[in-house]
Subunit: 217 residues, 2 copies
Amino acid sequence: MTKKASVIGQRRKAASEDSSASYQARRKEICEAAIQVFHRQGFSGASLSAVAAELGIDRASLYYYFSSKDELFDAITTSVLEENAALARRIADSPISPRRKLRELVAAMMVSYGENYPLLYIYIREDLRQVADSRSDWSKHMRGLNRQIENAFIEIIEQGYEDRSLRRIGSARMVAYGILGMLNWSHRWYRPGKGESAEEAGRTFAELALAGLESPY
Amino acid sequence: MTKKASVIGQRRKAASEDSSASYQARRKEICEAAIQVFHRQGFSGASLSAVAAELGIDRASLYYYFSSKDELFDAITTSVLEENAALARRIADSPISPRRKLRELVAAMMVSYGENYPLLYIYIREDLRQVADSRSDWSKHMRGLNRQIENAFIEIIEQGYEDRSLRRIGSARMVAYGILGMLNWSHRWYRPGKGESAEEAGRTFAELALAGLESPY
DNA sequence: ACGCTTTTCCACGATACTGTTGACAGAATT
DNA sequence: AATTCTGTCAACAGTATCGTGGAAAAGCGT
């Protein structure tokens, strides 16, 4: 649904887009502010007024940099999620044992959530199935990235099932969802600098999923 | 913020409240419809118009049964969550081993999610920390129930740590969050009649958390 | 100091939602 | 048959939001 140069504002933006100077820097500033606001109020619950207020500027000024709330959201989330999906693929395809792959992937995901805090959580909270049709192209892309991560987990578990290094305690899909649940649910409790670090959480979750809680005695 | 009998509508409702007839039945119908709509669009994303449309009635008619969107939400969620919290308490206080407690609690929670589908998921999706101050009393109550469930898990794990039936792989709080994450994240993928049943999922998650994936060889 | 460009703001129209009001139709009651 | 009760509806006011237009302000190059 890209507008075909709707008179002004859009044209200004287009003009500033190619020859980018401090324009990109300001864009980034706005993104940072938006990340904070979206994290506090959720994407759908947050208004552009709130984002503008966070920076102490007028709401209309935002439209000089982003044509809509959706574009702002995309600019924020897309790149990081792409990185994350690539990371998952890389670990899944690496030539180590399924056990180690799983351990590393769990840890890496949690660390990524911590390092990019709170960016990925904003994305995680959004349920892509409910995104309006108007953004279905973008939504499909994002869902694809999501699926890549899911599939990385599923593949690893299936490999482990096949070489018998992992016990078959349920369908690979279900186990993968469980592990992803541990990781993704962290958006409700993880706060950097409070409680365990992301590394610690990642290690704990990896240990929980792989070795379990039961002691051998 | 309870209104003090705002003329009409409220008075009618008050009049119909004590002597309940088919009034309660219709209330339930509205609840059922609201559950569907809230599940599709999320609570904050859903409008009362949508709920009314689901039933093919006028939006204003809803106000004959519920004074606000919030009251509707409360009517839907409170009782079930209270039951769930009580269930968690009961299992945590039962005189069986921590291992069995954990297994049963995990399974019971997942089954409850399935049986009450999709009601509990509507609640899970709401992040209570972001509820407006206007409902802070209700919000506190609900957070309390949530905490009861959390604490049930934490206590069980700590018991297991102390009697050494569970390995100390991380703080009890962190492990509890991991398990709750597995369970709660099911709101993103669980659909009754599709894929694994809630019972199966519960068993798988309990096995995953307790015995882990790694095979002994 | 003067133009020109970049950036910001004030004001507007459009839309959507909430909660309320007073009136209306059918059933129940008298 | 008249009247109350129950449930419904169309319409209104109030608020919040989004995206746009045009004008003001700030930079900066000469």
